[in-house]
């Protein structure tokens, strides 16, 4: 018998609002840490990999160093603690200063059982690295997977992070990310949430260094009776920091999606700018879309912007697409396809591409996936 526990407060935004709206938090029912460890131990291949010739060090550790553990994540303490306790694989990756990692660091959670990985990546001064998190599971019912990724980006360093959640229908996933950017550091994150019965995607970034910057895009496709809860938090602390967030997606059937996006302009971040924009297309009679786009500000010389467009697409967009020959229905379809296509187009590794194509095949059919595989050439130039 699997024993379950409920994480009551997952994806808690910094500023909450009326509780009756049921937007503030999501509760996740997960197996107890002991059970996760027992089940996961049976699996052989490690979740975190890079390549033999990789200049980065990849070490299994008991616990991540304090510096990394202190980084706030988007999923919150309940989930942090559960993941830290459940993960049999806790991995520390060090990317030496000045190195340019040619191949990505991959956190691959594509096992069939419960898979929980806790990963810390420290990117040294002036270094560049790509980190890929793939969450996919093929068959087992009641599969839960979770990844908690903490990334410290030192001065002048850069990270590209690509996350793909394609769990299939009867699966749950928790995807937590915490990022800290030092002076002149930058990070670009692409999140693709294609399918999972219930998923909590929470990302927090702390732009602590002057001129540090973040670009973040989330693309989601939520259908059947799936639930996606997403929590984006960007704390702008350093001077002249930049943050650009774009979220977009399509809800169909009986999908429920909650997006909390917070830009926190903290006293001292003079000259900083933060922008967030969400576009949601509702394409189902029973969908529920919740959006909480928050700007917190206690600094004067800053600029914060939020925008959201929810529902049917804008009249201008629809007209533009009609002028190119699409009916309204086809235009809606285009948006759905586009989400999955994007995951294939931008997949940075063969495995990510494969998983994205599998998701396309599962959602839209094999022909579409094959067509796409032909048209879209891999963006990477290596095999795994």
């Amino acid at each position: 018998m699997t024993e379950f526990q409920t994480l009551e407060h997952v994806n808690v935004p910094p500023a909450q609002t009326w509780n009756y709206l049921h937007t503030n938090v999501i509760a996740m029912k997960v197996p107890a840490p002991d059970q996760v460890r027992a089940e996961y131990m049976e699996q052989t291949s490690p979740a975190v990999t890079c390549f033999a010739a990789c200049p980065a060090s990849i070490d299994a550790v008991e616990q991540l160093p304090e510096e990394l553990l202190a980084i706030e994540t988007g999923v919150g303490d309940d989930a942090n603690e559960w993941i830290a306790a459940s993960a049999t694989e806790t991995t520390l990756v060090n990317v030496p200063a000045g190195t340019n990692l040619e191949r990505p660091i991959v956190v691959d959670l594509s096992g069939d059982g419960v898979a929980v990985a806790h990963t810390g990546v420290s990117i040294g001064k002036g270094a560049r690295a790509t980190i890929v998190v793939i969450a996919s599971a093929s068959h087992k019912v009641e599969t839960v997977s979770a990844s908690l990724l903490r990334v410290l980006i030192e001065e002048d360093a850069h990270a590209d992070i690509f996350e793909l959640v394609a769990m299939g229908n009867p699966k749950q996933h928790i995807e937590g990310v915490g990022i800290e950017c030092r002076k002149d550091a930058s990070v670009n994150i692409q999140q693709y949430a294609l399918s999972a019965q219930t998923s909590a995607v929470g990302l927090a970034a702390n732009l602590v260094g002057d001129r540090s910057s973040l670009t973040l895009s989330l693309h989601y496709l939520v259908g059947s009776q799936q639930t996606l809860d997403c929590n984006h938090i960007v704390r702008q602390r350093g001077r002249n920091t930049r943050c650009v967030i774009d979220e977009s997606g399509v809800l169909s059937d009986k999908a429920t999606k909650t997006l909390k996006a917070t830009i926190d302009l903290i006293r001292g971040c003079k000259g900083s700018k933060g922008r967030e924009q969400e576009t949601v297309v509702l394409a189902g009679d029973d969908v529920v879309n919740k959006t909480l786009p928050v700007i917190l500000c206690d600094e004067e010389e800053v600029q914060g912007d939020h925008g959201a467009t929810i529902g049917s697409m804008s009249a201008e967009q629809l007209q533009y697409l009609r002028n190119r020959g699409l009916t309204e229905e086809q235009a809606e379809d285009l948006f759905r396809h586009a989400v999955a296509d994007g995951a294939v187009i931008h997949a940075p590794t063969p495995k990510a591409r494969k998983v994205a194509l599998q998701a396309v095949a599962q959602i839209f059919g094999k022909d579409i996936a094959e067509d796409l595989a032909e048209i879209v050439q891999p963006s990477f130039g290596f095999d795994e």
Binding site: A283, V287, K290, L296, E300, V302, Q303, H306, I310, S312
Partner: protein, 468 residues
């Protein structure tokens, strides 16, 4: 660029205290005895007493949300008197109002406004209405504008019973429950079918007593095809102990009817303002809110509109200006239930001198609200770097043919703009004031003339001062 130093607001026009000598004042605190005493004093129907006692019970059971909203720790209900009344009967001529009370309203300009542009005025002093009057022309059309207790003793009792605390149930939140228990005063307005009110009605609420609460209830029923503009004003002198305002406004707008509800809230900075306002709009009805929040120490204020009928619509225009020691959590809620409903929300907020202003809203579009349209636009202007301005808008959309648009911006007065104005001869101070006024202008032009002047004056006072 140097910053504008701002002075404390000169509130002399509101900040004068009248003695309470000879007033009836109930003991502080909240007990069933006090609730019964209030009820008895008003000689009201039994159902009302029952509602009050239920409210009191709920009040003790409920708590404030732990995870959001400004702290109300400074509010000790054991030191709030829920009922204070000047020893006077309600008058319909200012000549019959006691001198000190009359002087208060003269200073606030109420009788003058009544003479120049209002169809009727109600004036409440602490817990009781001291004056109520309406033009004969309106009365002849069947319009009723009276104290709510007075109306409870007349032919409208059933109608009041049918509507009283139905839009805002006593379980809504802790202070709605409190309101139900100890409410006193407020206005009842009934506009019969098809009646077009050419001039506004205005109720003014003045809380003079120290350490007291004001709990007026406003109930407005606008029948199909009718039209009303209602103005609500409020102020209080400043004390060093907490005062409480927990009023309740319930508005029923019939088919094809139109109601505009304008408020300039200017409570003193020791006031806890936990007010609840809600309206329900039937088919083709229109609700317009204009709301200015300048006063109080802590505010929780979110006028709510339920667009129940098909093609009903609402507009919410609001401004909040939080200064030193103020934490104003304001905004609105709209629930779109009918088909082809429309909601438009436009707000501005400013904070300075360590003040905190939070814009909080919720837009809920239910499944059957086909083709519903909602737009929310909120802008905040930062005037210094020790204040706070947060924007927390929630949206819950469940209808695929609906369209909801939201935009929020936060920014400071641009140096380019200040420089441009200075290059045309304005001082930096003038330039900044001009920018702030321009920022607030779209709101102030929605207000009745006198209120717009009052608001501009308030902003000017807030902005005045030397350049540092």
């Amino acid at each position: 660029m140097s910053k504008t130093k701002v002075q404390d607001v000169d509130r002399s026009m509101y900040d004068f205290i009248k003695p309470e000598e000879g007033y009836e004042r109930f003991e502080d605190g909240l007990t069933p005895e006090i609730v019964r005493a209030i009820s008895e004093k008003k000689d009201e129907p039994d159902w009302m007493l029952e509602l009050r006692l239920k409210g009191l019970k709920k009040y003790h059971e409920m708590s404030m949300p732990a995870n959001w909203g400004p702290s109300i720790e400074g509010l000790d209900m054991d030191h709030i008197s829920t009922y204070v009344s000047p020893k006077t009967e309600q008058a319909s001529s200012w000549d019959d109002v006691p001198e000190d009370v009359k002087d208060t309203f003269e200073k606030l300009g109420i009788p003058e406004a009544e003479r120049s542009y209002l169809a009727g005025v109600g004036a409440q002093y602490d817990s009781e209405l001291v004056y109520h009057s309406m033009q004969d022309s309106a009365a002849k059309q069947g319009v009723v504008y009276s104290g709510i207790e007075e109306a409870l003793h007349g032919p409208f009792e059933d109608m009041i019973r049918e509507h009283f605390m139905k839009l805002v149930p006593i379980t809504d939140h802790k202070f709605a429950a409190l309101h139900a228990a100890v409410w006193s005063g407020g206005s009842f307005v009934y506009v019969p079918e098809g009646v077009q009110m050419e001039y506004p009605l205005q109720s003014y609420f003045r809380l003079n007593a120290k350490g007291a609460g004001q709990f007026e209830h406003t109930l407005i029923i606008v029948e199909p095809g009718a039209n009303l503009h209602f103005i609500e004003g409020c102020s209080a002198p400043k004390y060093n102990v907490a005062n409480l305002h927990a009023g309740c406004v319930e508005l029923f707008v019939g088919k094809g009817a139109r109601l505009r509800y304008s408020t300039i809230e200017n409570w003193s900075k020791n006031m806890y303002n936990l007010n609840t306002k809600r309206s329900r709009i039937e088919e083709d009805g229109v609700m317009e809110w204009v709301s200015g929040s300048f006063g109080s120490h802590v505010s929780y204020l979110y006028p709510t509109t339920i667009l129940a009928g098909d093609r009903s619509s609402c507009e919410f225009t609001g401004i909040t200006f939080a200064g030193k020691t103020q934490n104003l959590d304001t905004g609105c809620k709209v629930i779109l239930n009918g088909k082809d409903t429309k909601a438009s929300v436009s707000t501005k907020s400013l904070s300075k001198d360590g003040g905190i202003s939070t814009f909080r809203s919720s837009i809920v579009v239910n499944k059957h609200a086909e083709n519903a349209l909602a737009t929310v636009s909120c802008q905040s202007l930062m005037i210094d770097d020790i204040s706070r301005s947060d924007t927390i808008p929630a949206m819950d959309v469940r209808c695929q043919s609906a369209s909801v648009g939201h935009e929020a911006t936060i920014g400071s007065i641009s140096d380019d703009t200040v420089f441009y104005l200075m290059s045309r001869g304005c001082s930096e101070d003038e330039a900044r004031t001009m920018v702030v006024n321009g920022f607030a202008n779209p709101i102030s032009k929605e207000l009745p003339l006198e209120y717009a002047a009052e608001m501009n004056n308030l902003i000017k006072l807030e902005m005045e001062g030397a350049i540092g």
